[in-house]
Symmetry: C2
Subunit: 476 residues, 2 copies
């Protein structure tokens, strides 16, 4: 094994959203943060894959404001200390990679960067790390290294790479002859015969070298990203890129901006099993399956069926006498499609969005910096919520114009402040009433999660009837 | 039109349960009481079908103890004044029909009886009533009249009738040559060619005549049923057949006991569209369908699919790119099957029952004489319920050994009694606490439904921790 002068800094690109995995993945809580094939999200699995301290430094996560608390919480849940960098606007992958390179070069100069998508599945972590070790030599020597995969079938959904001459005498590390776009089925078959590789869209490079290449091929993006990093601010532990600078970056992909232009490029032939889990059929593909080819995640029962995927979040989901079906159930939405129609889910979600359906974008469970709130039932003038506050969590000091609230604690201990009353503790089986218009705040100073049932009552119960007076998460 | 000397008494047989329509139909709330194809249940549609006062008297409903409150409530909801007769034990259709005949003969002597299953769908009510009018002449003249249907396809799921010579010169009213069992596919095709009819299992007869035929062919059942009627008791408005007498009745079908034995039998050729809705494919068959053959009940969205059934109860249910699928979703269970596998749902439910799954038999919403209670969320030491109490409804005076309860009223006004406190009113936005062990009672003396959220807390929250001290519905 050859290793560079410093540890690799993993950069996890976790800002995407995805509708093809609806209803599990929704804009408000997208697929990279969802447990799709097991107990962990692909984001968490990615963090664990690069948690080997012999090879990797602590990771940097690039995401948007909307997902910052997921990103931090889910990293903490798998014991990973991540720096979470916030993109103030969506500017596609070129700006994200440039900012990541600038941030790493500024904070850990001389480092190599492994830029990974947060929503890919790799089934063989050790083989993956072997590929990274192999690529590192080339990266240290000044190449941008892309990860190719030896194809297992003529996929038309992926871009391909034509590998060139071997580097350093290792057939698994080559120059790149060409990048080619997603092929049709016949062409894809030709590509397989000719030894082309799938382009996974993950990269390894010296931060300084990537910045130099940006300087050559996309100096405007390099300048915007560097300035956004230089002027970045710290915000309750997050690194917030400067919005003015970052927003000047051109919207384009890293492939167009640099990868397909630079001569300093190499490819590793990855021999790990990999999927970009772009749609539910890909989830089926990478899942463990029973003797009949059925994959079941969550509370599913499959009878006299084969090659089906059942993905259930908290609702008994059954399939009988079926073949090749995708069945996904969540507490508020169900989706059924044949496997070969997996891509059509996007069109379905578009139709739901056009119809103004909340289920297209929002989950019933709404994550907040302090925990989460889940809708249980709603009537014309009332709503019932299940609220879970993490230890140390503090809700904003707030007031409502249209609703009163009843709180009943069912687990843990709450510290409550209600206007006109002395602050007090509320523990299991105790309740409190928050009159309409009264300032109030709820916090968990205990060691275990605080759970309470909130009954809201009033003529208007929208989320926008929260007047935030103070907020430790700076949402006021 | 020829009409008899008295009005026909409809007798609705509503005691069955059905698993082939799971998860909508469950033992605790079976299909005849479910809105399967529209807003009304098949039981309610049946009641409305025979609500024409020119032809029919008020109906008698025969059902079991478990369903008596559904039967009464759903009849009231469609404005029908039904006498609900309770079978103290399941003794199959012979005993039920004998008891119905005895009950009608005792309470409205000389009447004709129209015995109908509560879970059949008829699409042409007026054509149905024409068939009844046609049959009535024969019934008044001393025949038992069965309703045959002119078949539209060679169904193997139904028994068939070979019609004989026309009666009264009307080809649509004939003697019966033979009853034949469910055929195989080839035989069914032969039956169609030969003019056989489907046997719908519904009958029209003079009560006195049916009793006479029972006396000839099944005198033991006749005796048990008559005694059960003679010794029947009144129970908060229900007629309860005498349990000792009724339970001595032999378990057999009306077909075996009388219909296939008696010579005094005729058949009407029914020309109405009919289905026994035995399984979900039959529901699809009798549903209104869009141009692509899709039927959607409830909150369903079907895209680029054809010949699918979506039946949703309160959860957005979507199908994309599929053909001939049955998709049924309820708040706690989902079932997906190809249409041709509709019968396999029974096996699925058997497997769930064997696995001890509550969802196989119970709904999240549990109907009670006073309204219903629906589970919203449950944790290890707490549970949240949505309770709806009908105007006039009174819960039992009760006490729990293991739980305390919080009540928050969200609609209407509750009268509450809690041990150690004076009875008081609780209205919207007010709450009360019921300490562990305290006797308590909740009632709705108002004019609108009372809705409240109950938060239960304690180490054990099972339904069997209700000690009933007094109960107006005699469940104490």
């Amino acid at each position: 094994m050859s290793q560079g002068s410093s540890k690799i800094v993993p950069v996890i690109l976790a800002g995407g959203s995805g509708t093809r995995l609806w209803p599990a993945s929704r804009d408000a809580f997208p697929k990279q943060f969802q447990p799709l094939t097991g107990d962990l999200s692909t984001y968490q699995e990615t963090l664990r894959r690069v948690a080997d301290p012999a090879l990797f430094d602590d990771p940097v996560v690039i995401t948007s404001d909307a997902f910052r608390f997921f990103a931090r919480r889910q990293a903490a849940d798998v014991g990973v200390k991540a720096t979470v960098v916030l993109e103030p606007a969506r500017r596609d992958s070129a700006a994200a990679v440039a900012a990541a390179a600038a941030f790493v070069e500024k904070t850990r100069p001389g480092s190599a960067v492994l830029a990974l998508a947060a929503d890919h599945v790799v089934l063989d972590d050790e083989v993956f790390r072997d590929a990274v070790r192999l690529g590192l030599t080339a990266a240290e020597a000044g190449k941008i290294v892309v990860f190719g995969l030896v194809p297992t079938e003529p996929k038309t959904a992926y871009g391909y790479i034509r590998p060139g001459a071997a580097l350093d005498g290792d057939d698994d590390l080559c120059l790149v002859d060409a990048f080619v776009e997603k092929p049709d089925a016949t062409t894809a078959l030709d590509y397989l015969r000719q030894g082309y590789l799938w382009n996974s869209g993950n990269f390894l490079f010296k931060a300084s070298h990537m910045l130099a290449e940006f300087g050559k091929y996309a100096p405007d993006i390099a300048a915007a990203a560097s300035e956004a990093v230089d002027k970045a601010s710290e915000d309750i532990g997050f690194v917030r890129l400067d919005p003015d600078a970052f927003s000047t970056a051109r919207k384009t992909s890293i492939d167009y901006a640099v990868i397909e232009k630079t001569d300093e490029i190499a490819v590793v032939k990855g021999r790990f099993r990999w999927s970009d889990v772009g749609a539910w059929d890909a989830i089926w593909q990478v899942s463990e399956r029973d003797g009949e080819g059925n994959a079941v995640h969550g509370d599913g029962v499959v009878l006299a069926s084969h090659d089906c995927l059942v993905h259930s979040q908290g609702i008994l989901t059954t399939v009988v006498g079926a073949e090749g079906l995708l069945v996904v159930a969540t507490p508020d939405a169900v989706m059924v499609a044949p496997r070969e129609q997996a891509q059509a889910v996007k069109g379905l979600v578009d139709a739901l969005k056009a119809g103004g359906r909340d289920e297209a974008t929002l989950h019933r469970r709404d994550y907040r910096p302090w925990g989460y709130i889940e809708a249980l039932v709603a009537g014309p003038r009332f709503a019932v919520k299940h609220i879970v506050v993490d230890p140390g969590g503090v809700l904003s000091l707030q007031r409502h114009q249209h609703r009163a609230e009843h709180w009943v604690v069912v687990n843990g201990t709450a510290t409550i402040e209600i206007e006109g009353e002395a602050p007090r503790l509320l523990t299991i089986n105790q309740s409190a009433y928050v009159p309409l218009g009264a300032r109030h705040r709820l916090s968990n100073r205990g060691k275990i999660p605080l759970e309470l049932i909130e009954v809201q009552s009033g003529a208007y119960l929208g989320n926008d009837d929260i007047e935030r007076i103070e907020d430790i998460y700076q949402r006021a």
